[in-house]
């Protein structure tokens, strides 16, 4: 059994007590300690800024041309916090409970409670930084409701909340760069982790401008490299989002937690053709006022929506989940859309879409109110589809959006490799088997501003006597050579197929067999297919150009090679989990379409240990203990 190092004591007191018992590093010693932070999204950006403020020597890395580009920027809807400014009965406990329940009872109680506790500090911090949250006429902060919750606890900045929070963290980070506390390395991608004597001691990064490999020492390394949704090729992730840093860590001893837990978001713009490069999310906040429906009769599917009479429409979420209606959580709403389309009642050219209709909201509130709330989202939709959602209902379909799984971490956010941490979407910790809307921003900033900067001190306090290790140390040279060999190999194959060919093939296998619905037979087949893809990739990929130059195709090839290996692990994990929970829906385990959990056998985190590329990974279990919440069937009816 894995030890998650959850502090003793009552749930409400664990974090407070833990904080006061964590070892401290005095200011003079902090200056002697190097911390490497990989990734500059909400988690990495806020962590690097905060560690810099505390006085550590920080080096921060991103593959984009500026920390401000990280994909947290694309989050639209909002950020949850248990402020109870609306006086509608919200509390830390309710946010905690909603998150555990939303995650289908597969998250760690202590982590989630801590998240709910610090949620309130995040809002204070961001407002002080000048994040322009939406306000009411009295000048106070506005809130709205979001999927999976019955209170209004979501703070937002139009439809650009992620952007504004990220720019807040970016500002704080740039301030530390200007003060000389943080050094930033843009267009640098971490391609290997370096362990010495069992501890994480540095990284190898590829300078994406000239292709040179650079070595960096750190007393600790923090991975804030986001999720791995791009394993499906099509997802709402940015084109560059990748699993490489987490995957290198996995292959160097960091266990990977619940890799099969992926979130398929219900409201995305449907696919139009094979050239499609990515999918665009329409914020979940649209479900506050939009009503989801499909025709009751198959023969109506090709009719114009305005020609379908009210009584011939099936508002299936309102029908199936009357108490939450259109605000049912993401996994449930996605699966319901898939069922409607599988039933032959999908709309649009492909039949893989459902309507999200604002006609009622426009009648009730007026066009101007709807425009004030969702104007930029409507514009975005019109840009993409050339259709006006004020007149025509939107067409939406589920798409891969977020990965709840990730690098396994203990309560201190440390992985199974001492000195290696994982924060934000890159870790597995807080969302269980399904993440609620507006909780990703909350977790990224909680980890980066308020959790890691404390907990990392516990480890670094014992490192103050460790002198910086030269990057000429054999471990660094060995890691550098491994990377060199890998790139030279990729360039020298000169096969017939492009990197994207392989990526699309992998994505299709993942979507068909490890997507919204999974079964044993399909997963076993997928595993064989992925092994085959890996073999062909390494013998038939064609990467143009050279190693020592700017070469995005080579960068992509390295990422896809890692996605292929990850894909297999996801399938192994999905096969192991003989139950349905949250986003993991095994068709063998259901009660009339609703997920059927198996708490007796699977109330654990599956943490996988790498055991060689052709060998089965080793399963370690972290038992989930529910001492404060009664395990219940997750009902939104």
């Amino acid at each position: 059994m894995l030890d998650s190092r959850i502090p003793e004591g009552p749930l409400e007191e664990k974090w407070t007590k833990h904080k006061s018992s964590i070892k401290l590093v005095n200011p003079a010693n902090k200056r002697k300690i190097d911390v490497l932070v990989i990734g500059t999204g909400l988690a990495g950006g806020s962590a690097a800024a905060t560690l810099g403020e505390l006085g550590y020597n920080v080096k921060v890395f991103c593959f984009q041309d500026s920390p401000r580009r990280a994909h947290s920027i694309a989050a639209q809807g909002g950020i949850n916090a248990a402020k109870n400014y609306k006086n509608d009965g919200d509390s830390v406990h309710r946010l905690f409970y909603d998150t555990i329940k939303g995650g289908d009872f597969r998250a760690r109680e202590a982590n989630v409670h801590r998240l709910a506790e610090v949620s309130v500090d995040i809002i204070d911090q961001c407002v002080a930084q000048g994040v322009p949250f939406a306000r009411e006429y009295g000048g106070l902060l506005d809130n709205r409701s979001f999927g999976g919750s019955q209170v209004s606890r979501t703070f937002y900045a139009r439809g650009q909340t992620g952007q504004q929070l990220l720019l807040g963290a970016y500002s704080a980070l740039e301030r530390q760069v200007g003060l000389g506390n943080v050094k930033q390395y843009t267009r640098h991608e971490m391609v290997e982790i370096v362990n010495i004597d069992g501890k994480a001691r540095g990284i190898i990064a590829r300078n994406l401008i000239n292709g040179k490999l650079e070595k960096f020492f750190g007393h600790a390394v923090v991975l804030a490299t986001g999720g791995y949704g791009n394993v499906f090729f099509l997802s709402t992730n940015a084109m560059g989002s990748n699993v490489t840093a987490s995957w290198k860590a996995y292959k160097k001893g960091a266990f990977f937690g619940n890799p099969c837990f992926t979130q398929i978001h219900p409201t995305c713009v449907p696919v139009t053709g094979s050239y499609q490069s990515k999918l665009t999310l329409m914020s979940e906040s649209l479900r506050n006022d939009g009503r989801v429906w499909v025709p009751k009769k198959k023969e109506d599917c090709k009719k114009r929506p305005q020609d379908i009479a009210e009584e011939d429409r099936d508002y299936y979420l309102e029908r199936k989940y009357p108490s939450f209606g259109n605000l049912a959580p993401r996994d449930i709403a996605s699966r319901a859309a898939k069922e409607a389309c599988d039933d032959g009642r999908g709309v649009g050219v492909s039949g893989l879409a459902v309507y999200l209709d604002f006609a009622d909201a426009i009648n009730r509130l007026g066009k101007s109110v709807v425009e004030a709330r969702y104007g930029n989202l409507f514009d975005m939709y019109e840009h993409i589809t050339n259709e006006n959602p004020y007149e025509m209902p939107m067409r939406i379909y589920p798409a891969v959006h977020y990965t709840m799984g990730g690098t396994w971490v203990d309560y201190n956010l440390m992985t199974t490799v001492p000195g290696l941490y994982a924060i934000g979407e890159a870790n597995f910790s807080d969302h269980g088997a399904n993440r609620l809307g507006a909780s990703a921003l909350m977790q990224g900033l909680a980890d980066g501003y308020f959790v890691l900067p404390y907990t990392i001190g516990n480890y670094l306090a014992d490192e103050i006597f460790t002198k910086p290790i030269s990057t000429d140390h054999p471990a660094f040279l060995e890691a550098e050579n491994e990377v060199k060999d890998r790139y030279n190999k990729l360039i020298s194959i000169k096969g017939k197929r492009t990197v994207d060919d392989f990526h699309k093939e992998l994505g299709k296998v993942m979507w068909d067999y490890c997507g919204m619905a999974r079964d044993k037979e399909g997963l076993e087949k997928a595993r064989e297919l992925i092994k085959q893809i890996r073999k062909e990739f390494w013998s038939d990929v064609n990467v143009p150009g050279g190693v020592d130059e700017m070469n995005p195709e080579l960068d992509k090839a390295g990422r896809v090679a890692d996605f292929i290996e990850l894909g297999e692990l996801m399938v192994v994990d999905a096969l192991n989990r003989n139950e349905s929970c949250g986003g993991h829906f095994r068709t063998e385990y259901q009660d009339a379409g609703e997920a059927k959990r198996n708490d007796n056998d699977y109330a654990y985190v599956a943490a996988w240990e790498f055991n060689g590329i052709d060998a089965d990974p080793v399963l370690h279990k972290e038992e989930l203990k529910f001492e404060n919440i009664k395990l219940a069937v997750r009902s939104y009816k």
């Binding site: 800024a49 905060t50 403020e53 984009q64 041309d65 500026s66 920390p67 401000r68 580009r69 994909h71 920027i73 694309a74 402020k83 500090d121 204070d124 911090q125 961001c126 407002v127 002080a128 930084q129 000048g130 322009p132 949250f133 939406a134 306000r135 009295g138 000048g139 106070l140 900045a157 952007q163 504004q164 720019l167 500002s171 704080a172 740039e174 301030r175 760069v177 200007g178 401008i209 940015a238 084109m239 139009t272 053709g273 050239y275 490069s277 665009t280 999310l281 975005m380 840009h383 050339n386 308020f450 492009t498 994207d500 064609n542 143009p544 150009g545 130059e549 700017m550 995005p552 195709e553």
Partner: protein
């Protein structure tokens, strides 16, 4: 649809570049501009040629990474749109499309259509922040902010830092970018204590980075994908003047 693409190719910062013509056919009008570029690159790789390097990431018009100068306009022909949100239906069948990188000495070309915009980070480092360490904040509702000011601040904060304003300006001035950040904070009570220092530091750094002067042509506003208003430049000028006199 079919197109002739005239694309700027340049090996690296230190070598000279040139336009190269490519033909592309079977383009679907629902393809995004960057998907059309993906298809071109796919064809180039299959032919054993090097694909065109261009910056892109979110493809949702929000990260600010994409940066193409298309037919003489930053982010192409459509108003209030980033390159990644352009669709081929915005072009006419058979058209010749000229694609260049941002042209500004403060944005050196790295390769083909990719430029180095770290000068923008340097400007933010000089003062594009409110100095508040993590943990120092008071309750978020303790300072009410007039809704109109909050909305104006949000309008300015919508800047994605893509650099289209610089590319569009005949002087390669970064005034719209700098004024958006200055305005975002100048409009909020939290931003008041550093208001003077901020505007002086950011404008000085902008000049040190080699950006040109603003001559009020308004080209930046016209090409800005987020429709940032040049009234922000007026606000910056007022603040800059006041701060200079007080210094």
């Amino acid at each position: 649809m079919k197109f002739t693409l005239k694309i700027w190719r340049q090996k690296n910062t230190n070598t000279a570049g040139k336009f190269v013509d490519y033909q592309i056919s079977d383009v679907n009008s629902d393809m995004s501009f960057l998907e059309m570029m993906d298809v071109l690159n796919d064809e180039l790789v299959r032919k054993g040629e090097e694909p065109v390097v261009f910056d892109h990431d979110c493809r949702e018009g929000i990260c600010g990474m994409c940066s193409m100068y298309i037919n003489g306009r930053a982010h192409g022909p459509k108003r209030a749109t980033t390159t990644c949100q352009l669709y081929m239906r915005n072009f006419s069948d058979g058209e010749t499309i000229t694609i260049e990188p941002w042209r500004a000495s403060s944005f050196p070309v790295l390769r083909d259509l990719s430029v180095d915009r770290s000068s923008f980070d340097n400007i933010i480092q000089a003062g594009g922040f409110i100095s508040v360490n993590t943990g120092q904040a008071q309750d978020a509702n303790s300072t009410p902010v007039n809704k109109e000011d909050a909305d104006l601040s949000m309008d300015a904060a919508a800047c994605i830092g893509c650099g289209a304003c610089v590319a569009a300006c005949k002087n390669a001035s970064a005034m719209l970018f700098v004024s958006a950040k200055v305005s975002q904070f100048a409009l909020l009570p939290q931003g008041q204590s550093e208001r003077s220092e901020r505007v002086l530091a950011m404008v000085n750094t902008m000049e040190e980075e080699g950006f040109g002067s603003c001559t009020n042509t308004g080209a930046c506003e016209a090409e800005c994908p987020k429709e940032i208003s040049i009234s922000n430049i007026a606000r910056l000028n007022r603040d800059f003047l006041a701060a200079s006199i007080m210094k």
